[in-house]
Symmetry: C2
Subunit: 478 residues, 2 copies
């Protein structure tokens, strides 16, 4: 697999992970017919064994699962979710699956859709940095619903999850960045493949059926970047989960599709992207895992402001800072910070997520950067509003996407400084298991009793040993 | 609206219809922000009145409806449909809507999906030639399901249908041919907008809600041309119907989306097409109707062989030809005929649709070109198999897509000749109402009792006067 190098999202590269082992010839430079990547991926999704997955990757899968379940529970209270339920519930089928964090149950398609929405609506879920994909957002809701509908062991569940995420992220790597740059929301366009592969594996599809499932997935991409900032953004991974699950179920009854849904002339890769590299799909498939590069957000905002929040919280805690001690906050940042988060006077929590000024201020006033700090309440706290007026931002071309330099000048003349080399949550400075648990409990606070939240966490950590993976969803019901 | 000229599908041009009245500046050549076409279309879909639709367009809408219902009834017996039902029925919601031609009922989403599949699976439905869109395939199943779920008068139904088809075809015209050429199945990618607009109109969306519905539609295109020849092709309009209906229902509860889902930088038009012309959307909107250019297939095969079937049937009937009189059949054809239908020894009915040799032979042996003539049975009839060996095909660069020259040389030395200037079913030589009725009855044969089939037809013809449009679907139950 080639090194995506500077192409990666926020400057992240696949080279940081386990996959940069081989560098085969770029498939775009070769002559002749394209490689049969649809069948290759189908073969992998049908035959990949849990016993072949390294322990570290299995562990990362449980971290991804835990983080995803927490985000879905927390997101279930966002207004987006009851709106979707009220619009769609008159058409729900049998109550086959749990809507996490809520009392309502639904058929597996609608459960997958709505759990996908709630897991992404806070923009707090996992991120595969090099491709900008949120890997769990489509894969997990699809198979978690299936695990309540049919018997699925925890081992089979985790195996399907790893295979689905691998299919999804490798397809994303193959078309990134051209596909993303033109305007596709890559989480939804590749998530449908991940959901189809993972769901199809649990349904025991044959290789030919899996080829058809991937073809049906190819025909149903979801998501435009234009929808960012509206409720439709979180609809993308939810609908991709539903589409992938539909693809797998149709294929299981021999609903046919193309045998070259991805690589054909009028197939997915050519239609949705002006460039692609099939080496990203084929190289070391089943030997290295993009899931091992997955990352988790400690803060409920866009990734670009994470180093700033990290630095401000550290300085606050180290110096027991109070807002009224502060004369000025000087930030040196990557250029994307001002491109994406230059909102000076945010009026809503959602706008707060796109305000570097609010992010720095609230990190000082509240000492945290969770969902509560990016709420409608938080952006109106007078102390925070006053402090954000003291934040100055300067672009520093020498900084990378996960770096920032925070300087706080105090009224007594002191000058406190912190350089964040890798923000908390980046691949080089990942959240610890304890960090993830604290984040989970914060998200579940007010939705599940704390004892039940701890039970859900326990089941995620021990997923591989569960006889019935469906209990994860059941115990997360609101 | 500009003249698509030679760009149109099979050489058809928008100039043939009612819309070539104005020629405003090409929007791609203008400076500044793009025109607000999402809001423009939303405004039209929300405010367009039935009383503004000319009688001729209303009549064309009933012809389109009749043809669509017949195709759905006939297609309901294709194996694709029971496969889809068996895969998805465990997840059906309440039995809100009819699956045409069948006993099963489903929630409105699944009814829309499956009726969309059955209406397109025979490749026998209506075609807007200049854009290659099958206009009814996504719009009608969406609103027909809705008409069984809530009170919808026939007048409101037809109005929504016309508005939806107009939105769909104008978006298609705006991105054709670049969008189609890259590999999108334009029926599914534009059908989702048509279904959203038509469904949203019946749901009485506000203009803002309709803007959101179109945005939700923009994020869910369906369909790759690579899927042609597999069951996934007919899945495209079905899923587009379901997606559009979902978009409209979500928007009705204020599920938000972009305000510029179509024209924004990362919006639909830029993401799915390298070229577009917004004049095709805006010009004469509400004054001229692309629906008036809709056409209906008299023969159950690809359009390119229609002039050949037409010519062969005419010569057969005029000369009371028997196959054993024939020495040779010489065909002069448009180049696309050999590009698309050069299959010399078809083994299945589906392959027969892509064999010009079978099409000519069966037109002589059976005197027809309906679904029965493109069945597994028909391609194996010895008399037809023998005759197709006597068919010779030559490309004639002077012929247009709806033209052919048929020469039949008899064993007694006679030479019979027929030049088809415009094939039956083309815009210039449309099927008559009686032709459409005969086609309908042929499709319903074996599915509905003939008296009931006639009742369904009567209801389609009189749709504008129905108190309850849902009765069209109810009377078409199998």
């Amino acid at each position: 697999m080639r090194d995506l190098g500077r192409r990666g999202f926020l400057g992240y590269s696949l080279a940081g992970g386990a996959v940069a082992l081989a560098a085969p010839a770029d498939s775009e430079k070769t002559e002749g017919p394209p490689p049969p990547v649809t069948r290759r991926l189908a073969n992998y999704a049908v035959h990949g064994q849990f016993s072949d997955i390294p322990t570290s990757v299995r562990k990362e899968a449980t971290r991804t699962l835990l983080n995803w379940v927490g985000c879905a529970i927390g997101g279930s209270q966002n207004e987006t979710v009851p709106i979707a339920i009220s619009a769609l519930s008159p058409f729900f089928g049998p109550a086959q699956a749990t809507i996490l964090g809520r009392k309502e149950r639904a058929d597996i398609f609608h459960a997958a859709l709505i759990n996908g929405i709630s897991s992404h609506v806070l923009d707090f879920d996992d991120t595969h940095m090099a491709t900008a994909i949120h890997p769990a957002a489509s894969v997990v809701p699809a198979i978690l619903a299936l695990a309540e509908y049919m018997p699925v062991s925890g081992r089979d569940f985790l195996n399907a999850m790893v295979l689905g995420i691998e299919v999804e992220c490798r397809l994303g790597a193959a078309v990134y960045p051209a596909h993303y740059d033109v305007g596709w929301h890559i989480t939804g366009t590749t998530g449908v493949f991940g959901a189809a592969a993972a769901g199809g594996r649990l349904l025991n599809l044959s290789e030919q059926q899996m080829v058809w499932a991937l073809g049906l997935a190819a025909a149903q991409p979801v998501g435009l970047r234009e929808m960012f900032g509206s409720m439709t953004k979180s609809f993308h991974p939810g609908r991709a989960a539903q589409n992938g699950l539909t693809a797998a179920l149709l294929a299981s009854k021999n609903y046919t599709s193309s045998d070259q849904g991805i690589e054909a002339k009028s197939g997915w890769a050519n239609v949705v992207s002006t460039q692609h590299d099939y080496a990203d799909i084929q190289s070391q498939l089943g030997k290295t895992y993009l899931l091992s590069e997955n990352s988790y957000k400690p803060f409920a905002s866009g990734l670009v402001v994470h180093p700033i929040i990290d630095g401000c919280i550290q300085l606050r805690n180290e110096h027991k800072l109070k807002p009224d001690q502060i004369e000025k906050i000087d930030l040196r940042v990557h250029r994307l910070v001002l491109e994406l988060t230059d909102k000076k006077t945010p009026q809503t929590g959602l706008e707060g997520k796109f305000s570097v000024y609010h992010a720095a201020a609230v990190a000082i006033t509240e000492g945290a950067g969770g969902e509560a700090q990016f709420s409608d309440r938080a952006v109106r706290v007078p102390e925070t509003v006053a402090l954000r007026g003291k934040v100055a931002v300067t672009i520093d071309a020498s900084l990378k996407g996960d770096q920032a330099r925070v300087v706080i000048v105090l009224k007594d003349g002191r000058r406190l400084e912190k350089f964040i080399e890798h923000a908390l949550g980046s691949i080089q400075n990942p959240m610890s298991d304890r960090d993830l648990e604290a984040k989970f409990l914060g998200l579940a606070d007010g939705v599940l009793p704390v004892e039940r939240a701890k039970q859900v966490m326990e089941r995620c950590w021990n997923a591989a040993d569960l006889k019935d993976a469906g209990v994860i969803a059941k115990s997360a019901a609101g």
